[in-house]
Amino acid sequence: MELTVTKNATCTFCGCVCDDIELHSDGVRITHTKAACVLGTAWFKNHTVEKLFPDALIDGKPATVDEAVHFAAELLHAADMPLLYGLSNITCEATREAASLAELIGGVIDSHTSL
């Protein structure tokens, strides 16, 4: 196992978005955090690169990402008023893609802010 140390990492758990976190990892999980709060530590330690979930599910059955992507495209394309919702736990780069997709499918795009 290769041990790595990441300095000045950014925690995305809450709106504080602290960017002074030190993360130690063994390549599979984050083993140790410095400067993170109790919520941040739990968030970082709660993730691993182990494959705990299927790549994708279609109607509850395991599928490949490719199949799921194409089926998702079909469903969104067929819809008259598709909704894109969320955005708070994805990156800005992903949101930029989402805005572009919303445009293409003539949908509504909305975030937690509207709640």
Partner: protein, 318 residues
Amino acid sequence: MGGKVSCTLGEVKNRADLIIYWGGNPAECHPRHFTKYTIMQKGKYVPNGRKDRTMVLVDIRETPSAKAADIFLQVRPTKDFEVITLLRAMIKDQPVDEAAVAETGLSLEQLRDLVARMKACKFGVFFFGMGLSMTRGKHMNSAALLTLAAEMNAFTKFVAMPMRGHGNVTGGDVILRYTTGYPFGISLSRGYPRFNPGEFSTIDLLIRGDCDAALILGADPGATMPQPAIEHLKRIPTIVLDPKVTHTSRLARVHITTAATGISAGGTVYRMDEIPLPLRPPLKGPYPTDEEVIRRIREAVAKKADWMPGMNGVVAAA
């Protein structure tokens, strides 16, 4: 009236001598807010840190954050707007009705003391949480507090900032503002952006049953939204992108597992004061990023016939 008078968090760290949390519980929800940005920090102009600052907590119940506060003001539930309105009158030396004060659960003395502190401070700040913005009155409460902060600038330096919850909820607002001109609740059904909260906000769309497909990005409405909204998500084809199989995944037609933001997915996120920060993901995971999956969906849709009239022909020849 309207707008927002605010600052970045470093201004609070360096200058604020009066810090008022309203309807928020940073001790439990934003644990490092006190130590990294506000009361505990030694700042450039508040060199003694905690000793140079006064913290006030306004809330309907005594949360663990009250322990950190110098003054705790317990407002009667649903009376925040009234308290703010009274304060707006009192800073301008307008008479207030004692009966109206009594209804708020606070005494005139408490309010007078708060007004005196607000006027005497060199740099005051309101941080307001969901206890203000998501309870009766909702955005009206936020607007009233923002106005109070703006009006306080006739006397001293004063700012206000929402305590945004989820990690990159601010980034979502920022990106939507510059791509569409609006922060949330945007319809592109006419090929250009339109904004109408109430019409294009998620809960309203779902409860009315207006939308006929949903793509859920890093959220779990199946666990958090009102039942009628969840029922509609079950009725329509729902697609979920999430690092975990969520409640919403279970009612969805499609779930795609994606890399966790900041853990195995890189990019940018915004802090509650709209400062962009880079991610340094320490792990390489087995799943694609949200960015990549959304791009692939977009590319797959782009190959199909366009829904907009006139878009399927050849672009006019050069």
